[in-house]
Amino acid sequence: MADAPTASAAEADVSWRSAASRSGRAVVGARKPSRSTRAWRVWSSAAIVTAVVLAVLIVPPLADLDEQAVHLADKLLPPSLEHPFGTDDVGRDLLLRCVYGLRVSLLVGVVAAVVATVIGTAVGALAAASGGWVDRLVMRLVDVFSSVPHLLLGIFIVAMFRPGVWPVVISVALTHWLSTARIVRAEVLSLRSRPYVDAAISGGASRWRVTVRHLLPGVLPQAGLAAVLMVPHAIWHESALSFLGLGLPTHQASLGTLVQGARSSLLAGDWWPTLFPGLFIIVPTLAIAGLAGAWRDRINPRRRSELML
């Protein structure tokens, strides 16, 4: 009995996957999502991402509203026309706080993903372009880093600073460049053995020139894709850190602190302070991942398949 709702929740959670893989019987040649399904996914993802970005960019400067304003008389009001998402336990408007929270989370996600990708690309390219003992040393360091669970490492890093946005960015960026470094290294290694690199060397190109002119442009699509796929992951990471009370200070709205603050009212049966920030974590990150999946299908059509999260 207890298992039934869990199973259906899991089912609902992966409903964007094809039927074949949901049943765990995905095989080569299994039915793929049709063209129109894929287009619908891409367009709905694009619409959500656009709406989110616009909301985050436009609402805070234009609407002269104070998301911190406390109205104790209005505390824990259910969703209504005046407060579409309801209010929290000190009477702050939840819609406004969700938008501000998403703003912080998106900022953290995008900046951390970009920084992580830059670090990962630099390290991966350095390792592969140098080869020899540099490559071995760097990749063993990457192995050592990835042997530590990265949430743990992230907690260790944020714990060294005062709570705030930038420690979270640093923490997420410093723990997420490893996979990009591996991808970039593998890609550069394969490009490095192409005859056009031989031709460049014979033409007098320095190591640096070969890397910058011939190797890096070849890995940019992969690295860019890794960066976009990293954004949702970084948002989740930020939410997790904030939820644990290690990320942003609790008064500052971020999706993690909102969910964290809502726990007490959830026990009292007030569902809206948890549901809406939760949706704000899930829906935009799925949309970003959907767009990234479409991009990956474009650059590598043979792997047209599932979203990878």
Partner: protein, 219 residues
């Protein structure tokens, strides 16, 4: 003088592809190296062009032994060789236009000022139309791309040309055009040539002397 002295090279030290090979190319001389597919002649060409480090043996360029390979070779030694590879598709960076492709060695050696003149001159030498120069590799045919690759090999005026199965993928007329372009350049500059291939008729007509792979390994 380009001397390859008792070279042993390959991709696995226990099973070298090239065993104890000696070969000399005099300045201005053209040597054809004949051999069946997979015998190691391309590897030998890569070693001679300082693109692959041999396990044993020496490459001596004009009396000066090479000490480094690939990036470790001094730039002046590396650029003394113009190399043309068998497959133009793989030997051309897909992101560069033909002009950029031909000019790349000039830019890499800090001679960007000469690009416009040299590219136009070389395009004429190898028979590439001006309209093709702005295209990328996927927009031209194999023959046209190989002409661009030959132009790239000639752009720094190398003293040695190494053609590794340069014409294997091309039709007869393109082959003739490319061989003529190489011979014209050699007549002008007095460069030596090592042409690797399996086409006996072509190499015997093209080169001053031809060597068979078996003779090299036995000698």
């Amino acid at each position: 003088m380009l001397e390859l002295r008792s070279l042993t090279a390959g991709y696995d030290r226990r099973a070298p592809v090239v065993r104890d090979v000696n070969l000399t190319v005099a300045p201005g001389e053209s040597v054809g190296l004949l051999g069946p597919s997979g015998c190691g002649k391309s590897t030998l060409a890569r070693v001679a062009a300082l693109l692959h480090r041999p396990d044993r043996g020496q490459v001596v360029i004009d009396g000066e032994p090479a000490h480094g390979w690939r990036h470790r070779a001094p730039r002046s030694q590396r650029t003394a060789f113009g190399v043309v590879f068998q497959q133009p598709r793989l030997a051309a960076d897909p992101r560069l236009t033909l002009t950029q492709l031909i000019a790349e060695p000039l830019r890499a050696t800090g001679r960007a000022a000469e690009v416009t003149d040299r590219v136009r001159e070389l395009a004429r030498t190898v028979g590439l139309g001006e309209d093709l120069l702005g295209r990328r590799p996927h927009e031209v045919s194999d023959g046209q791309l190989q002409r661009a690759c030959l132009a790239r090999a000639l752009v720094l005026r190398p003293r040695w040309l190494i053609c590794d199965e340069m014409t294997a993928m091309l039709d007869a007329s393109t082959t003739a055009a490319l061989v003529t372009a190489v011979e014209n350049y050699r007549a002008d500059s007095g460069a030596g040539l090592l042409a690797v291939g399996h086409d006996k008729v072509l190499l015997e007509r093209w080169c001053d002397r031809t060597v068979h792979w078996d003779e090299l390994t036995r000698a």
